[in-house]
Symmetry: C2
């Protein structure tokens, strides 16, 4: 089992210098056509592949980007990753992936590793628990070009790709109002989660715009898990309370799925007795019965945009780059009373 072929091996076997081999393989000018062909042939024969580590070290450019996400088995993030990889592949970049699990310390380690391994850039969806954006400062202090996804900071100078969370919530709430629902509850995410807050803002703004009161008895916050169980318990509580709502807007589809369970147990018909609207258009939404009205988040598009921005930064475009993806509501069965 011969070790990996190096330029030196090719050079020696053809009695030329290493420099000549390098020139031949890199299509430089001052090289004789014959020797060039001989070298190419030999390289093919020996299955030569340049050592990317050495090339990167020498040229001081590493065609690798780091991607740090809170979790990859969450559908939205997996589509973001897909979008990034799609573009990265076209541009011949390698993708290093890390999962922070919403843990700032873990996130910092990952940033550190990326820096150590000389990534050319970073696309990151910051852990929402890192309130003070310490890790964002850390990235900056390391001078790594970066693009923020989905969880932008308040800093105006950051390059980011986000989604109009507030707008989506507004659309959802307005839709419920238009459908004639009167007592619209909201199941928020865990407190202090900026995304949940944005969606909550959209919800309240829509209500106020239509002259409806914001009733805090109709608003509940979920646990950190933000899963179906939260939806189940919180909605059951709501539906058994005096102020029993006729519609529930959920901060995500998983929570909405929990609401389905509760309403089934309570023998409530969706959408006639209770309307439900989710958020994210995750796979489950179209499989729930009745199908779930939800806000569409184009994860893959956002990922592609993030990579495009990163490339812009890398080629020196220093203008302020940012894009907020428009909210779109996908109306399905769960929010339309059959008349």
């Amino acid at each position: 089992m011969p070790p990996r072929t190096r330029l030196k091996d090719i050079a020696e076997s053809l009695n030329v210098s290493i420099a000549t081999v390098s020139r031949a393989l890199n299509n430089k000018f001052d090289i004789n056509a014959e020797t060039r062909n001989a070298i190419l042939k030999k390289a093919e024969e020996l299955n030569y592949r340049p050592n990317a580590l050495a090339v990167s070290l020498r040229k001081n450019e590493n065609f690798t980007i780091g991607v740090i996400l809170p979790s990859v088995d969450h559908y939205f993030f997996s589509t973001v990753l897909k979008g990034i990889m799609n573009k990265a592949h076209q541009a011949n970049y390698l993708v290093i992936i890390g999962e922070s699990n919403h843990n700032p310390e873990r996130e910092k380690e990952l940033i550190n590793q990326c820096a150590t391994h000389c990534v050319t850039g970073l696309i990151i969806s910051l852990a929402s628990t890192d309130i003070n954006h310490e890790n964002l400062k850390f990235i900056k202090s390391n001078r790594i070009p970066y693009v923020l996804v989905d969880r932008p900071s308040k800093n105006e100078d950051d390059t980011f790709v986000k989604y109009d969370d507030e707008g989506g919530a507004r659309l959802a709430t307005e839709h419920l109002i238009a459908q004639g629902y009167k007592k619209i509850a909201m199941l928020k995410g865990k407190d202090s989660c900026s995304i949940s807050e944005s969606r909550f803002n959209g919800y309240t703004k829509a209500l106020l715009k239509r002259g409806m009161a914001v009733d805090h008895d109709l608003i509940r916050s979920s646990s950190a898990a933000q899963g179906p169980e939260d939806g189940y318990f919180l909605s059951k509580e709501l539906l058994l309370s005096k102020k029993k709502p006729d519609a529930i807007f959920c901060v995500n589809d998983d929570i909405a799925a929990g609401v389905y369970q509760a309403s089934q147990e309570l023998n409530l018909n969706i959408p006639d007795d209770l309307a439900v609207v989710g958020y994210s258009n995750s796979i489950i939404s179209k499989h729930l019965s009745p199908t779930l009205t939800t806000v569409v988040q184009p994860g893959a598009d956002m990922g592609e945009q993030a990579f495009d921005f990163l490339q812009q930064i890398l080629i020196g475009n220093s203008s302020k780059l940012s894009r907020t993806f428009d909210a779109r509501l996908l109306v399905r069965e769960s929010s339309c009373k059959v008349i």
Copy 2:
């Protein structure tokens, strides 16, 4: 904006040699405690981080593994990835991720990139469309240590982590028989997909074992997408045919979701008129109504095992490593007639 700190920078600022700095930072013996502390302090001050490219080049070991999967937004694979990353993090490995999209050429490019970037090992779920396992040969010819996940070759020498696909299908089918269903259909994946074939084998074996005939009119193959649409159309066809089945075993949960749709349109009650069993325990399965009986695939565990195997190989353990994860059936509402 000063460039990245190097050993040289620290050395010059303290009037010592580069070698000394290196020794200090790497906890070597022959170094004075005072100078060592001074160097550590300076390194901290200058925010020094070793250049991983240079270290890897010099030491000829790159703490990086490549992971190549058909797609990352498929739930099962995303959990495999999660498992791999979990272990990789503990072992201080970086993870490079690539998505083949079931395309062998793309897959080959990714392997090539991984080889070029000197990954220490590869965990790969081969594209099922690569019938002759050309890419597996390619990996071997490049001498990259590898572990196969989920789609093992027929070669006995390969290290692999797989799932007892046949066993899972057998469990599912036997369960349906035990529940009293008589005409059990199967919706396979696309032809020539080895996983689908294994599951089909399990299905037929279970039937034969119980003395039931395998009726090829009750067996349909889906398109390459293997999505809900396939389930919808194929099951509708079946349910409207003369041999109308009273149970359908689906090669995956997405297809099962399509069956739900069809049965709803045809006013068939699940599980009383029709039992449905899926495969993979994807997120949708517990949100479908009624909840879907499905075969559990422990993706994260499989990912962790794959990484463990890779480490075994890397430390020189040359014994034949492989593990087949036992099948487990998660019985839910869709397959249990209410008596």
